[in-house]
Amino acid sequence: MFDDFLVRAMLASVGVALAAAPLGCFVIWRRMAYFGDATAHAAVLGIALSLTLSVPIFAGVLVVCLLMAIMVSSLTGRGFAMDTMLGVASHSSLAIGLVAVSFLSGVRIDLMSYLFGDILAVGHMDLMVIWGGALIVLGLIVWRWSGLLLSTLNSDLALASGFNPKQEQLILTIALAIVVAVAIKVVGVLLIAAMLIVPAATARTFSSTPEAMAIIAACLGVFCGISGLQASYLMDTPTGPTIVCVSAFLFIVTNLVVRILPLNGLTKKNS
């Protein structure tokens, strides 16, 4: 069954969605959306370095993303705001990565497949890397849940309860780097942030607790992954962007329905 490329593609998108959507909740709560974007851009530099040094893409991307995140975190606050540092790091690593790739004359690479993903070419090895990374991220989130949540809520409350907010921030940064590294094959560098944020943003509408939001986000992510893959098969469209289109469509529809339904209720009562 793993020999069918469509089955492998489906498993890959489910794996990425399961890890990305709950992590995306923290990205939303902590207002780190731009951070996720910047980490994804740094991945281009990671890809270039991996190809130059002939190491697995996953490893190169992971290292570069972590380095960028740590550099941004440590330079922030010394006269630079977080978004300034992110802007510098994100776009320079994207540019350096694109320039570096152009030097690789000996290697034939399809840059488009890294920018927008190549989910239909997912192999057995890719599948193992994706699920390994996804399980590590999910494990980190479940294991550190209380500390992560409390640090997100208020760092003083976290400190008073014996948590170290800086350590929790580091855990989130590592999880983010892992998700970016495993998601490249599925949706590509440019659309990873969408996998993180869109299902979580859709889930916010239906959630009264943080746990509910994370679980609903994961379910929505998996649903969008599977239905996006089917839609791209039927319509012969690029798979990564189709998955993101389905998520965005769901976000728009749920928000419209939530805005319109109470209004209907009101007019019915009035009439």
Partner: protein, 243 residues
């Protein structure tokens, strides 16, 4: 002795915010810290809970000391859905009865299903108090916990604090502007202005020249200011937060 500061100093960069603080808190004692804006009250608290590190001096805590902390102001991002019940069970779970009792002690029963976002400032402050009571703390730290409460509310709140001390047997250190309101409930008052200006029983402190010098008041204008603040709560200046 629950907690002891010995010649404690705290710097922000080159600026000295607290210098040479000698302070100890005994079990079941209620201590009120008074001081003008920028006198380092919040800094002292953040040092006590470990959010800031002293640049010199020693901070000793009784081994296994449990601190309940009620922060001054808390912003909860509206993107984070959170019911009162879930908030009370963070980071560790408690039985429904324990949570209900704590909310009851703090004067906000039946709020558990509400979203934190929808609470008024006063309600939220009481939920924070209830949450701080859950772990049966040895020491309760309250950072201007009556912000957002009216005078009657403040007085009720401080009576509640005194009864919490009697029931749970914890020591309480609180920051307040309102010596008159807290006077009856407090055992010891500490006047802070970068250093400890004076300390002692509330009656002694309110009569001391250091206290009047610190707040720039004589007795009559103090009463007038107190009344004035009563009618115009919006004219009260807010303590800047440093972190």
């Amino acid at each position: 002795m629950l907690i002891k500061c010995d010649k404690l100093s705290v710097h922000f960069g080159k600026r000295k915010v607290l210098s040479n603080i000698n302070l100890s808190v005994n079990p079941q004692e209620i201590v009120t810290v008074l001081g003008p804006n920028g006198s380092g009250k919040t800094t002292l608290f953040k040092t006590l809970i470990g959010a800031l590190h002293p640049s010199s001096g020693v901070l000793k805590k009784k081994p296994g000391l449990k601190i309940g902390y009620v922060p001054q102001r808390l912003h909860i991002d509206e993107t984070l859905p959170m019911t009162v019940k879930r908030f009370m069970n963070l980071p560790s779970g408690h039985s429904a009865n324990t949570v209900a009792d704590a909310l009851d002690h703090a004067g906000v029963p039946h709020l558990d299903k509400q979203q934190i976002m929808d609470l008024s400032g006063g309600q939220f402050q009481r939920v924070l108090l209830a949450r701080a009571l859950l772990g049966n703390p040895d020491l309760l730290l309250l950072d201007e916990a009556t912000q957002g409460l009216d005078h009657r509310g403040s007085a009720d709140f401080y009576r509640q604090i005194a009864s919490v001390r009697d029931k749970l047997g914890c020591a309480i250190v609180m920051i307040s502007h309102e010596l008159h309101v807290v006077m009856r409930q407090t055992d010891r008052v500490i006047c802070l202005n970068g250093h400890i200006c004076c300390q002692g029983k509330p009656e002694t402190v309110s009569d001391s020249p250091e206290y009047h010098a610190l707040f720039g008041l004589d007795k009559e204008s103090e009463a007038a200011l107190y009344l004035h603040q009563g009618h115009h709560p919006h004219t009260q200046t807010k303590q800047p937060s440093y972190v």
